[in-house]
């Protein structure tokens, strides 16, 4: 229990295992123990006359530069992963979630009406659009900012991205099924919606109408 070799009692010289063996013991105990182990604790476990401190020092040196290290935590010792290898302890998992209804509707409106301001989206959906929804779509890189509207306040517009087209297997936003097709598919009711074009009123029809007609009426 002492570092001073002069103090090593003669009677235990015969009992104590060779230092290499003591080092093995310290290694095994540090490995298996669920908690850091103190020098005192090591010595109570090891054969009488063992010098845990010296064995620890040898072990610490042995692990220098290895994938794990022998480190001191307070009064106790522990084996830890080398800090530069922390990245190995991470496992990346990819989780796929369904896009929320609000996000899908917002995305659909942008796709069908682009370029499209937030106010327009809200008007079409009939509810306000949360900042989070737009952010999510921006982050997914399915929409991006378009040019600003030349109207008071110069609101930003949103347009869909090439990533969006890629994800949905579309060559262009014009490939989106038009109103006619939606109607034929039974997704839209047959009656024309009240006021031929219920969307995009007010704010500069010119542009919007043009875009829409391009989108929907072609066939």
């Amino acid at each position: 229990m002492t570092d001073d070799p002069r103090d090593a009692p003669a009677e235990s010289l015969f009992d104590a295992p060779p230092m290499a063996e003591q080092e093995r013991m310290v290694e095994a105990v540090l490995f298996a123990s669920p908690d850091p182990v103190s020098v005192r604790d090591l010595e109570t476990r090891m054969p009488h006359g063992s010098d845990a401190a010296q064995a620890l020092e040898l072990l610490r040196k042995r692990y220098e530069g290895r994938g794990v290290r022998v480190v001191q935590v307070g009064e106790a010792w522990v084996i830890r992963t080398a800090p530069d290898l922390g990245f190995l302890m991470q496992k990346e998992t990819v989780e796929t979630r369904k896009l929320s209804r609000a996000a899908i509707e917002t995305l659909a409106i942008i796709a069908y009406h682009q370029p499209c301001t937030r106010a327009e989206i809200e008007e079409i959906r009939g509810v306000s659009v949360s900042r989070g929804t737009i952010d999510q779509l921006l982050e997914m890189e399915w929409i991006r900012l378009g040019r600003r509207r030349m109207t008071p306040g110069r609101p930003v517009t949103f347009v869909v991205t090439p990533e969006f087209l890629d994800h949905f297997g579309l060559e262009s936003a014009r490939d989106l099924p038009g109103l006619k097709e939606l109607r034929a598919a039974g997704l839209l009711e047959n009656r024309p919606p009240p006021g031929a074009m219920p969307v995009g009123e007010g704010a500069d029809e010119s542009e919007t109408d043009e875009d829409q007609s391009e989108l929907f009426e072609e066939e």
Partner: protein
Amino acid sequence: MVDNLSSEDPISVAERLAAEALIIDVDGFEGPLDVLLTLSRTQKVDLRKISVLELARQYLTFVERAKELRIELAADYLVMAAWLAFLKSRLLLPPDPEDEGPSGEELAAHLAFQLERLQAMRDVAARLMARDQLGRDFFRRGQGEDVTRLRTVTYSATLLDLMQGYARIRTRDEFRPFVMDRESVFTMEQALDRMRGLIGFAGSWTEMASYLPEGWEMDPMRRRSATASTFAASLELVKEGHLEIRQSDTFAPIHLRKRTETRD
């Protein structure tokens, strides 16, 4: 393995004692084969050289003693006794050339094999349990470091989701009451009309459930009707060659896909 018929002496005192000791401890046995194996040890020979005839005698004595001491023996002990009595007679009588079936020697050899095999299994079981064991002789890492899971969430949506989402908005006001007025029956014709319009956009495998008409997914009755007709319509379209359909397993979701000219 052939029984030495000449040397069979009446059971020695020591063997009788052993047999009686067995009876007293009959609960400790794991079935008749276990008793036979224990009895065989009194022969003090390699199991391969065991006298099955002698063993049969010992076992029958064991059963007799149990009866005398009015110890209830489980049925399988008695079945074994009957079988051994049969085997004994086979071994003692000269073989009947008319008799089909296995000879006494064959039966005895098989019993010896069974005993040897059971003994072998016990020996290796003991060797197995004598091995160094985890948590007793060698140990696992005491401070396992959990792997941190970095979770990346990606969101998915299909073209159909998008179309339905858009249609939902465009028809929000009128569409729902319009459907609600109907009875809870979605006809196959309706489904077929609907599917014909939709399949053009089913480029990738899409769950059939997503083709259910708007407003028919929640109410169980309506949902059933819509599912049935949509499924029937899907089959019709598959038949016509417009659609491909698959189901990975019983009760698994059914997937649909537009059939392309060049099949991959």
